[in-house]
Amino acid sequence: MAELDLSPITRIEGHLDFKINVENGKVTDAKAIGALFRGFEIILKGRDPLDALVITPRICGVCPTSHNDASARALDDALNASIPENGYLMRSILLGVENLMSHAAHTYVLFGPDLANKKYEKHDAYPELVKRFAPLTGTSYKGAVLTRIKLDEIFAIFGGKHPHTTFIPGGAPVRPQLSDITKALSIFMQVQDFLENVTLGCSIERWLENKSIKDVQKWLEEDEKHANSDLGLFIRLGPELGLHKLGPGPGNFLSYGVYAQADGKNWLPAGFYDGKHHSLDQSKIEEHIKYSWYTGYEGGRHPMDGITEPYYEEGEKYTWAKCPRYDGKPAEVGPLARMIIDKDPLVLDLAKEYGPCVYTRVLARLHEAVRLAAKIKEWLLELDPAKPFFGSYERPSNAEGIGLTEAARGALGHWVRIRNGKIDNYQVITPTAWNVSPKDSNDVHGPIEQAVIGTPVEDENNPIEVQHVIRSYDPCIACTVHVITPRRSYRLKVV
C-alpha cells in the first residue's frame, strides 16, 4: 500500500491538502485536509449586527456575493425588512453574475487544464485538448479569463466593485439609471458572444431546448459547430476519458434555494434528495467535530447553538474544516444538487444514465450556467429605474435571523442571534464545508472523501483521476474554515 500525499492541491480556491491510500491501483482511504483557520467571525461578537454585512463577505473573495446575500437575508429576517421588487432583482443579478463568473472560471481555469493532462496524450483529441484547455496558453482558457473581466464590469455597474461590494437588509443601496441597465446589457452581449461561439456553438435558446440525453445526441449531430464547441467536445470525450466512472459520492443532495423573488419563492428551489425529494428543514442541519481541530462538544450541534473552540493536535483530528450533516447524512452541494432538486429534466436524465460522477457534475454546472445567463438577461430587463430599490428595516434589540442562499459551489447559510442590539452569536456553514467535510461522529466520510475512495489511480506519480474528482466539486477552501462566534468566551487551548 502506498500513502500518497497530494498536498497542496492547486487550481482550487484556497488551502486544501489531501492524503490518500492507494492499494492495487485503487484509492482505499482519503483525508481531505482544510489547511487554514482564520477564526474570523469571532470579531463579530458584541458588534453592531450591520457590521456582518461588511465582515462576512471577506470570508471568501471568490464567492463574496453569496455571503453578501446570506448576511443580508439573515438580517432581513432578524430586522423585519421589507424589500421592493427591484431590491430582489438587483440581488439576483449581482449574485447571478458572480455565480456565472465562478462557473466560467471553474470550467476553464480550474478544471479544464486537467483535460490537457499527459495521461491523455495517446488520445486522438489530445492536440485539440491542449490547444483549447492548456493553462494560460489554451485558446478557450484565454477567452474565458478575458470574458470573466466583462462579467466583473457588469457587477461593478451596480455593486461598485468586484470583489467585495456590500448588500443591505431591505433591498439594494444602488439607484441605477436606464443607461446603467443598457450598458450592463451591452457588456452582457460580449459575454454571450463567448458563451455562444466558444462554449456552446449555438444560441443560448437552442441549447436550452435540450431536455434529455436523446435531445443532446440530436443537437450534436445537427451541426458541426455544436459537436466542435467546447461543450460538444466535452460531451463526446467525457465517457471516452472515463470521466463518467469517477467520483460518485454519497448520492444525497442538498440545496437551500436561491435567487429570492418578490413572490416569496426562489427561482431555484430548496430541498434535500436521497433517492426521494424532500422539502428543506433547516433544523436538521448539524455540525460535527470529531475529526476537526475543535473541541467543546460531542455529536452534532445546530448552527444557531454552534460552538467553535479551536484545538490543534497531531492525532485523530486532521482538518480545520467542520463536518456538517443533514438529518445525520453527508450531502453533496453545488450545481448538480441544485439542478436535481429543481427537477431539471436534462440533468435528471444525465444523473439517471451516469449517476453522480465527474462527467455529470461538470455538465450540470455548464447547463446551469447557460440557464443562469438567460435568466440574468431577463432580470436586467425587468429592473424599473423609476421605482425604489430599498424598502426598510427595523432595529429590534433582540432577534434571530437565518439567511440561506447558494454560492456557485453550493448551499451557504448564515445564522445570527442579536441580544441588546449587538451580535451574540454568528454562525456560517459554507458550501465547501459540506463537500470537503471530514468523517462525522459515526465515522462516515464526507462527500469528496467518499467520491475519492475507490477511484482508480493509473500512475501514482500523476494521480489525475483523483484530482478530477476533487476539482469536479469546485471546492473553495477560503470559505470553508472561517469564523464562528462561540457563545462562551473565546480561548485557544494550549496543546
Binding site: 497530494l6 487550481r11 426598510s392
Partner: protein, 306 residues
C-alpha cells in the same frame, strides 16, 4: 525573464480575483510583453503536490533567482507559536515566508491582510496573525523592522480589501523598469495612497457633502458621510478617481466607503454604518460647524435626497 512567486496565507483569495481583472497590461500582456513567469500561484498552478514543493524549494536553495515575491494574506503565527493555522504541504505558511522573503529581490504585500493584518488580525486575533512587515499601524510585523529584500527595499505594501489590480500591476511594472517607487509612511506607493489622495476625491456626492445634504437612509442621493458611516474623507486611496472594474465605486453605488485600505481596517471603521458628524478635529470644529450652517443655507434647490 522575471520570476514571480505568489504565496497565499490567511486570505480570502480576493486579491487574486481582483488581480485577474487587470487590464493595461492584462495578465497575458504581462506574461508575453514583460516576460513575467508566474512560477507558483496556487489557484492557477498547472501542477499540484510534490512539483509545487520542489519549485518553492528551488528558490529557497537559491538555485534560481526569485525576482518578486508577492504575499497575499496575513501570516498566522498561532496556534501556540506553531503557525499551523495555515499550512502549505509540509510547512506552515509563516515558515515558507521566512525562508522565501530573504531570497527575493522585491517583496510585495498585496491586500490589507498581507500589508497590515486586516480581519485575521482583528481583536481578539485568534490565530496571532500579522502583516508581512506591519502589524496594523505599527512597523515590524512578521519580518521585523530591519528586513530588506535583496534590492535593499522594505516590503512594499499595496493595501485594499481587495487591492485594485492597477495598484498591483503598475507597481510591478515600475519596479521591473527599475524606477524608484516613492512610498508613503506605511510603505505604500504614494501614487495610489498618498496623503493628498482620498476616496472622497472624485466622489459624485461631493456637492451634497459641500452643502451638507446627508443621506438619511440607504438609497438616498445625499452624502453618505454623516449618517451612513462613509470613511471616504479619512481613507487614502484613489478609488473614485481610478474607478473599479473600469466602471464605478462603492460610493457611486450608494455604499459608504469602509476604509479598507487603512492600516487599522476593520476595527478603525467599526461600527461601519455609524453616524459621524465632524470631518475635522480640535479648534477646526468651530469654523466647520459655522461653515456647515452657512452651506446648508446656500444649498441649491436641485440638491435633494429623494
Amino acid at each position: 525573464m522575471v520570476n514571480v512567486v505568489w504565496m497565499q496565507g490567511a486570505t480570502d483569495n480576493g486579491c487574486l480575483v481582483s488581480f485577474l481583472n487587470a487590464q493595461q497590461p492584462d495578465v497575458y500582456q504581462a506574461i508575453e510583453k514583460l516576460g513575467v513567469t508566474i512560477s507558483y500561484q496556487n489557484t492557477i498552478n498547472p501542477t499540484s503536490g510534490k512539483d509545487v514543493i520542489a519549485t518553492l524549494e528551488k528558490y529557497i536553495a537559491g538555485d534560481e533567482q526569485l525576482d518578486v515575491l508577492i504575499v497575499e494574506g496575513a501570516i498566522p503565527r498561532g496556534p501556540n507559536g506553531t503557525g499551523m493555522a495555515c499550512f502549505i504541504g509540509p510547512r506552515s505558511f509563516a515558515q515558507w515566508i521566512s525562508e522565501l522573503a530573504p531570497k527575493a529581490q522585491y517583496v510585495l504585500a498585496v491586500g490589507t491582510c498581507a500589508a497590515f493584518g486586516n480581519i485575521p488580525a482583528a481583536e481578539p486575533n485568534p490565530t496571532d496573525a500579522t502583516g508581512v512587515q506591519w502589524h496594523k499601524t505599527e512597523f515590524g510585523g512578521f519580518l521585523g523592522k530591519d528586513f530588506r529584500s535583496k534590492a535593499g527595499l522594505p516590503v512594499i505594501n499595496i493595501s485594499g480589501c481587495p487591492a485594485h489590480p492597477d495598484w498591483v500591476v503598475q507597481t510591478l511594472v515600475a519596479v521591473l523598469l527599475g524606477k524608484n517607487v516613492e512610498l508613503d509612511k506605511y510603505n505604500r506607493p504614494k501614487d495610489f495612497f498618498g496623503e493628498e489622495i482620498t476616496v472622497h476625491d472624485g466622489c459624485p456626492r461631493n456637492e451634497y457633502y459641500a452643502f451638507k445634504v446627508a443621506a438619511e437612509k440607504f438609497g438616498d442621493r445625499g452624502c453618505l458621510y454623516m449618517n451612513l458611516g462613509c470613511r471616504g474623507p479619512h481613507t487614502n486611496s484613489d478609488c473614485n478617481r481610478r474607478l473599479w472594474n473600469r466602471q464605478s465605486s462603492l460610493t457611486r453605488c450608494g455604499i459608504p466607503c469602509h476604509g479598507c485600505t487603512n492600516p487599522d481596517f476593520p476595527e478603525g471603521s467599526m461600527p461601519f454604518f455609524q453616524r459621524r458628524r465632524l470631518v475635522v478635529e480640535g479648534w477646526k470644529v468651530v469654523p466647520y460647524i459655522i461653515g456647515s450652517g452657512f452651506m446648508k443655507l446656500a444649498k441649491p434647490s436641485r440638491l435633494k435626497n429623494e
